[in-house]
Subunit: 411 residues, 2 copies
């Protein structure tokens, strides 16, 4: 049996069949320009498990694959034959796929009142003299207090940039203030350019980011991809099992999702032609397992009765502490979770739809790899969740097709 990732398709293989053939018989289209002669190098796949059940490298593979690719387990699907019919796991990297996963990333935007957590303020200070040698940071904080009436702290990374910014800007700087209580960025001179925020949805299967202009409230670019953790299990339970094997696996899954988010950040920044450092705020939602893994918090016990979460309240954490590449001083706000299996994504659903303010009986259904249902009786909210991936996302389906190009999307 060969499992093809990231689709989760399990296909039977005959002895001596090439991986390209097996995939193609099962409806999985891998790029191939040379008709399987090992010349074009378009059908690269990665062997994740069961290498010992495959034929040895061929001459074309040794010629086409780079040393780095060889170390990472790459093969050419047209050259690699099944020699033993055991369990084999093959990943088809994005560049080798003919189809493209169709992911929903648009939605209806509700009009809301803008109240961003970050704002920019331009300040002009008096330079120090021999009679007034107040230190740079105290000089800046005093000016902020004078202008805003607030007494914010300054974050350590930002503090380091103060002396140069003050002098480069001729004692005029633009500060970015987070929740009126912390200076998270100090730039030389007047920086009137926009200030951006990022909303991130970590789904079990899908990862989506939305770049927002915090002055206008407009979503100016979106990007999405498969959740790259899918290599380590298709559903939350199998990923939690993977982590339970060895605690270092938690780091692997955390790094995988952070890397996926960073890729999408690069994509939206390129689309909007801004720099990563211009993103000064970020909000993350996900089910409880995705939430815990993103934070590097062990999710083991949410899969064991009585299924308690590790942390329920919202978390503000510095982007750089997680390796997320936005402004160095920026915080990531992670929404609260409701229970072990009703996560921050459900909280976001509630806020986005406003069901919590509804006076009528209403129901909210969020169908994904896990489906969450929230019922309002006009007063209280009741929430529950269950796995729906196998039915709706096409994992392990024998007939039919996943939401890829070629499937019917609209009639």
């Amino acid at each position: 049996m060969i499992v093809f990732l990231p689709y989760g398709r399990r296909l039977k293989a005959s002895k001596n069949e090439t991986l390209l053939k097996v995939a193609s018989k099962g409806g999985i289209e891998i790029q191939s320009l040379c008709g399987g002669r090992g010349l074009c190098g378009r059908c690269k796949v990665i062997v994740r498990e069961g290498n010992e059940n495959l034929s040895p490298f061929t001459e074309p593979e040794e010629k086409i694959l780079t040393k780095k690719e060889l170390l990472e387990g790459y093969r050419l699907a047209c050259q690699t034959r099944v020699i033993r019919k055991r369990e084999i796991k093959i990943e088809i990297p994005a560049e080798s796929r003919l189809d493209k996963q169709r992911l929903l990333e648009e939605g209806v935007e509700r009009s809301i009142q803008l109240k961003p957590a970050v704002k920019k303020i331009v300040l002009t200070l008096r330079s120090p003299t021999l009679k007034d040698v107040k230190p740079d940071v105290e000089r800046l904080l005093e000016k902020i207090q004078e202008k805003t009436g607030r007494e914010p702290k300054i974050c350590y990374e930002t503090l380091k940039s103060v002396p140069l910014a003050l002098r480069e800007g001729g004692w005029t700087v633009t500060i970015t203030l987070w929740l009126e209580k912390e200076v998270i960025c100090v730039e030389a001179g007047e920086r009137k350019r926009g200030i951006y925020g990022l909303a991130v949805d970590i789904g079990t299967t899908k990862l989506a980011v939305y770049l927002t202009d915090l002055e206008s409230g407009r979503t100016i670019a979106t990007a999405s991809d498969m959740n790259p953790q899918i290599l380590y299990g298709e559903d939350v339970i199998s990923r939690i099992s993977f982590i339970s094997e060895k605690i270092s696996n938690l780091k692997i899954l955390q790094r995988t999702i952070v890397k996926g988010i960073n890729n999408l950040i690069t994509e939206v920044c390129n689309k909007a032609r801004i720099k990563n450092s211009e993103i000064c705020d970020m909000t993350v939602v996900g089910n409880t397992a995705m939430h815990h893994i993103f934070l590097g918090v062990p999710p083991k016990y949410i899969s064991l009765s009585p299924y308690p979460a590790v942390i329920g309240s919202s978390v503000n954490i510095r982007a750089r502490d997680l390796g997320v590449k936005i402004n160095k001083g920026a915080y990531i706000h992670v929404l609260p979770v409701i229970a072990g299996f009703v996560g921050a994504d459900a909280v976001a659903d509630i806020l986005a739809t406003g069901i919590h303010e509804s006076k009528e009986k209403s129901m909210l259904i969020d169908i994904g790899t896990n489906t969450e249902i929230v019922l309002s009786d006009g007063k209280d909210l009741y929430a529950c969740s269950c796995a729906s991936g196998p039915a709706f996302e096409g994992a392990h389906i024998a007939h039919g097709i996943r939401a890829v190009e070629g499937a019917i999307e609209r009639v």
Copy 2:
């Protein structure tokens, strides 16, 4: 002219003389068991500057020096000859020195009232049930509030360890609380063992650490060494010049001092037979330049009129953000500085002597590479500082000897 570091001795060399000979004529004793025949490998030195003015490697050197040592610029002093009388800088690493720098690390202890910033509290929680699935962290924080009346936060690194600690300890844990406002450590079960603090003095020339039992207030181990930054300049001005050349040099000097502190931490922990992670608090003092460099804050402007410091107030920073190897959640408290050239060390002097509480005219003098003088008129304090290294620490002296073994210490 050859400069021998870390002594700062400048010695004249004749053409064709070995480094061992030059050092020995100048009273600097380098280990040598084989009498300069290149057999024992004890006279290793490191060439820091002027390599082109020295003879090529000899056969014994190629035999004795490891590849790593070659890459780091090591030579055997007995094999290396001066071929051009230009500027050469040679470092004598600790293991090659015959003498040992004598550093003062004892002092008079004043009796003070103990009020440590950290304390341990043992808590026993009820385990979650299907009727009470409160998340682990909220469960813990609620118990803390119940027991202490405080509502502390929990630090992110510590948060990750909560689920395992709770279950390993059978729902009994020992928490470490910082300033009653943050949980910085959670350990499984009852941990009655001591809680330790570290005082660190970063002198321009000398680095000293004092390990303190925060329950008894006793200093239980001390260790000191030369400030390893001395390789990059003997006084603060030359180190600031080094940083002003290239901003990445600031990172080099910061890492150097952190590495030096980590070495001394290992030393005191070994002496006291405790683990690094048992140190849950740390206080650092130093003159303004050492203070800024330790924090990674550019010190350039404190050497330029009107000599403003970058930050004057005290700083609490997480040890792990600086790479200091004590408890992961522990904070480092850096004392405030008074001005560009009157630093946190002077503040510590004032606090330690209590001169600020004195009703009489009194004077405090701290002689080091820089000397600070504080005068009290019974009401106000006046402070100043000047460089005294060349006079008192033996830098560049032509006659006499530095405070090394062999110098008269007591009669």
